[in-house]
């Protein structure tokens, strides 16, 4: 602290003003001042301030290593602006937009990189897409800012970080390495498995989900004997996705002792108690004391057993589904097979279950069903239930985009009928307000093909209700806007 400063803090009534440490020029001028000591101090301070400001010099600093070149094309200016506003509005179109922009090999302009990284740090939803679009420059910038370290993807592929990093860094390394070199990640994890702290083990196993293969089975089998419950449960979770494992084999044998086929029908005989081996393989003992836990054992065993088991026991999935004789077991078996089909990515089974269960199909199966089959089921309905009825919402969401022309036409036709009823008035007119259809209008905006525009324009011309007329125009404009946005990327 300068002597002027310390005198000013204490007060000139307590200490004398001293100029010793002032620059010589300022000191010379300050010493010519006389009068009240407070005024002299202020004059000297003003002089010093001007002297230092006028004489401020430069310092020296290191520059960062330059970023590597990104040979991709920069996004057109309008697309960049739209990207920022779509992110702010969390627009439904973003998935399509990113897919196309990345396919067309575009990168974000440099001036948006920092803004996009802050967005990616705060929002997980489009993180990976954003990181791809900001590319090299984004990685370079993220490496400069400690707050953005989670956004760095081009890590050193070597296991140094795994061997010496913090728990969070090790987990990140494992997740990254599973994407680029699953075998290396597995080898490193297997090597240190015995000495890992219990509370991290479950997360490490969960990280194996990327690039999961039969190679991972030995480690997972070994983890079934871990002393921590969360580790055992995570191991079971992973093993269920691997129908070729010994665990799945044991589960198949278990199912075969619990289920018999008599005269073409399935007969279930589940024990009241399960043994230690079953518990080891992940069947939870009496998960809920208020339900029939035998059903629960069955459900878990079938969900974890390979579906091929049923082909050898009975035959085609359709034949298996039709061989349930006891109606009580039907929902349980359907549920268990649905889970198994999802875990094992078995579309043959998914379709068979969809054929039987229709609208009440487990929604996790829908992505495995061909779009045409979904569309046909939707069109088979009649009347109001035809359009975005809550029962059908899951199926509409699973439809491949853009929606097929017949679905689009039927949805618009349905809206027109609703609009007509609204215009006719009457006691129930409120039920036909466009606000009741807000969710379906939103879904349609994101999924209609471009060919919907003339249909919507015609609907707007015919509509007698002004609100509905506006809605039709709005949906049509949104679709046109979407097309423009995507065309900007060509």
């Amino acid at each position: 602290m300068s002597s002027l400063m310390s005198t000013a803090l204490l007060g000139t009534s307590r200490t004398a003003v001293a100029f010793e440490d002032l620059p010589a020029d300022v000191r010379g001028a300050a010493e010519t001042c006389d009068g009240d000591s407070a005024a002299v101090l202020l004059t000297a301070a003003a002089l010093e301030r001007a002297y230092r400001a006028g004489g401020a010099g430069s310092t020296t600093a290191e520059v960062p290593p330059p970023a590597r070149d990104d040979p991709r094309l920069t996004l057109p200016e309008s697309s960049s602006a739209h990207l920022v506003s779509m992110l702010a509005a969390k627009a439904t179109l973003l998935d399509d937009w990113f897919a196309l922009a990345i396919e067309r090999n575009f990168r974000a302009p440099d001036h948006l990189v920092a803004e996009l990284l802050s967005y990616a740090r705060a929002n997980e939803l489009y993180r990976e897409n954003i990181l791809r679009i900001v590319g090299e420059r984004g990685q370079w910038l993220a490496a400069r800012n400690p707050e953005w370290s989670m956004l760095i993807r081009h890590r050193d592929a070597g296991p140094g970080l795994w061997r010496h990093g913090t728990p969070a860094e090790r987990l990140q390394w494992l997740a990254d390495a599973r994407r680029s070199d699953p075998a290396l990640a597995l080898a490193e994890l297997s090597q240190t498995w015995e000495t890992e702290r219990g509370e991290h083990k479950a997360a490490f196993l969960a990280a194996l989900a990327a690039g999961l293969s039969a190679d991972d089975i030995p480690l997972l089998e070994h983890a079934l004997d871990d002393k921590r419950k969360d580790v055992r449960r995570e191991a079971v979770n992973m093993l269920r996705r691997l129908p070729g494992s010994q665990c799945a084999e044991r589960m198949a044998q278990r199912v075969q002792t619990w289920v018999h086929v008599e005269q073409g029908g399935i007969v279930v005989d589940v024990p009241d108690e399960i043994d230690t081996a079953a518990r080891r393989d992940g069947i939870e003992d009496r998960p809920n004391p208020h339900t029939d836990y035998r059903a629960e054992y069955m459900r878990q065993a079938i969900a974890a057993a390979p579906l091929t088991l049923w082909n050898t026991m009975i035959g085609e999935p359709a034949a298996v589904l039709s061989s349930i004789t006891d109606g009580v077991w039907e929902p349980i078996l359907h549920d268990a097979w649905s889970t198994a089909a999802v875990l094992q990515h078995n579309s043959e089974w998914a379709e068979a279950i969809f054929t039987v269960r229709g609208l009440s199909t487990d929604r996790r199966l829908l992505p495995l069903i061909p779009g045409r089959a979904l569309a046909d089921l939707l069109l088979s309905g009649t009347g109001d239930a035809n359009v975005l009825h809550p029962d059908r919402a899951a199926i509409y969401e699973a439809l491949p985009r853009p929606w097929p022309a017949d679905i689009t036409a039927s949805v618009i036709a349905q809206w027109e009928r609703v609009a007509a009823r609204r215009a006719d008035g009457g006691a129930r007119a409120n039920e036909f307000s466009r606000y009741k259809y807000a969710a379906s209008l939103r879904l349609a905006q994101a999924n209609f093909p471009y060919s919907a525009v003339p249909l919507l324009n015609r609907a707007a011309e015919r509509a007698r209700d002004i609100d509905w007329q506006q809605s039709f125009i709005k949906v049509a404009t949104t679709i046109v806007h979407r097309k423009t946005l995507l065309e900007e990327l060509t």
Binding site: A8, G11, T43, A50, S58, P66
Partner: protein, 427 residues
């Protein structure tokens, strides 16, 4: 007749990106839209039974809407601009009834405010004012020296205490001094090394009082600087009567700030030929509805006359005659760290109350080292930097040299814009 704005121009007036996205969603809700000379209007059907009335005066620009939104401009007026920029607004021979009233009022106001500024200052009023200011400043100096005598450690630095002194300065018709005192309260509250800042500011004010006491002995331009610091009003007309400086003025940056509902628009201009800096300031109370000529956007230059406000280090100016339409520029003059420091030293020696001065340095690489920012030139010389947009600047540079335009206050550069790959990017 104004040609429709580009999407970029519309985006530049949006308060945030969400508003712009919301504005786009209004497509299809418009009725009775129209465009006449500098005005746009339209009815937008919202959720209520009565549609919102959106009006835009493109000179200014100014916005009016009957919606209750606190955002400004609201999504409806933005939506109207989007409609217009996308060619969906027909031209009409005269504004619709609902728009005409507000537009007329704006026009009237513009006409009536002009003559108000031309009123001739009565010499005796000016004399009276000078006396009141002198009296107030004597009191201020007593207060300042008292603080130094008693010690800054013991000083009552609360907002109330400083505000009381500031209020006295408002009474004494020295609003410039009052403003300094009020900012000081904020500095004390938010700054770790406040003693230094407080001493700086008190010394600065003490110097101002001393200068005001012997104002007649000072050179004329320094007299103007002292008056400006104290807060004597300067008539618009007296500025416009000053000799113009004609140049190709490049718009290097623009910013709108708000303090206590007073909106300030700052536009930084750099003369291509003269190398002189200029700042255009516009104020608007309550909402950022600026009146007058819309300045060109960043990256455009305009052949125009500027009239500088009087002062020893003249910076603030008013736009006079325009000799051309705005056109984009793709090169900028060179500037160096030494040049920046020299012109700052020159400006401070002309006007010791000056805080910061605009600058432009070519070929500097932004650098972030252990939590501090620097702009480093080819020789390794560096100036510290501060501001909110330094990560954006670093992202633009990518470790390569760029041209940075900003203000220097003897401690750090606050970047305003960056010139890279042939275009100016506002920060």
């Amino acid at each position: 007749m104004t040609s429709p704005w580009t999407a970029g121009q519309v985006a530049s007036v949006a308060p945030d990106v969400t508003s712009l996205a919301a504005a786009r969603k209004l497509a299809g809700s418009w009725t009775l839209t129209g465009h006449h000379e500098n005005s746009l209007w339209g009815l937008c059907q919202g959720s209520g039974s009565k549609p919102y009335q959106a009006i835009v005066d493109l000179s200014g620009p100014a916005y009016k809407c009957s919606c209750p939104s606190r955002k400004f401009p609201c999504k409806h007026t933005l939506g109207l601009l989007v409609e217009w920029s996308e060619g969906r607004v027909p031209t009409a021979s005269e504004p619709a009834d609902f728009a005409a009233e507000w537009l007329d009022r704006r026009e009237e106001k513009a006409v009536t405010t002009r003559p108000a500024a031309t009123k001739i200052v009565d010499p005796s009023t000016a004399q009276k004012r000078a006396e009141r200011v002198a009296g107030g400043l004597v009191e201020l100096d007593l207060w300042i020296t008292d603080q130094i005598r008693g010690g800054l450690a013991a000083m009552d630095k609360s907002w109330e205490a400083l505000d009381a002194v500031a209020a006295r300065m408002v009474d004494a018709q020295a609003p410039g001094v009052a403003g300094t005192l009020r900012t000081l309260a904020g500095i004390v509250a938010s700054n770790e090394n406040w003693p230094e800042k407080v001493l700086d500011e008190l010394a600065r004010l003490h110097l101002l009082v001393a200068a005001h006491q012997k104002i007649a002995e000072l050179p004329e331009s320094l007299q103007d600087s002292v008056r400006a610091q104290v807060g004597y009003p300067v008539g618009t007309d007296s500025v416009m009567e000053r000799p113009p400086v004609r140049d190709h003025w490049m718009v290097m940056g623009t910013r709108v700030t708000e303090e206590k509902r007073l909106f300030t628009r700052t536009v930084w201009l750099l003369g291509r030929v003269t190398g002189q800096w200029a700042v255009l300031l516009d104020f608007s109370h309550g909402s950022p509805n600026f009146s007058g000529v819309v300045p060109p956007v960043v990256g455009y230059q305009i052949d125009a006359d500027l009239h500088f406000y009087p002062g020893a280090a003249a910076l603030r100016a008013r736009l006079g005659n325009l000799h051309s339409e705005a056109e984009p520029f793709t090169t900028v003059p060179r500037g160096s760290i030494d040049g920046t420091l020299q012109s700052y030293a020159d400006a401070v020696s002309a006007d010791p109350w000056l805080r910061s001065w605009p600058m432009m340095i070519s070929a500097v690489t932004p650098s972030y080292v252990d939590g501090s920012w620097f702009l480093v030139d080819e020789t390794g010389a560096a100036l510290p930097a501060e501001g909110d947009s330094l990560w954006t600047l670093l992202g633009i540079s990518g470790g390569y040299p760029v041209t940075v335009c900003g203000t220097w206050n003897a401690c750090a550069v606050s970047p305003i814009s960056v010139f890279a790959s042939g275009q100016v990017i506002a920060l």
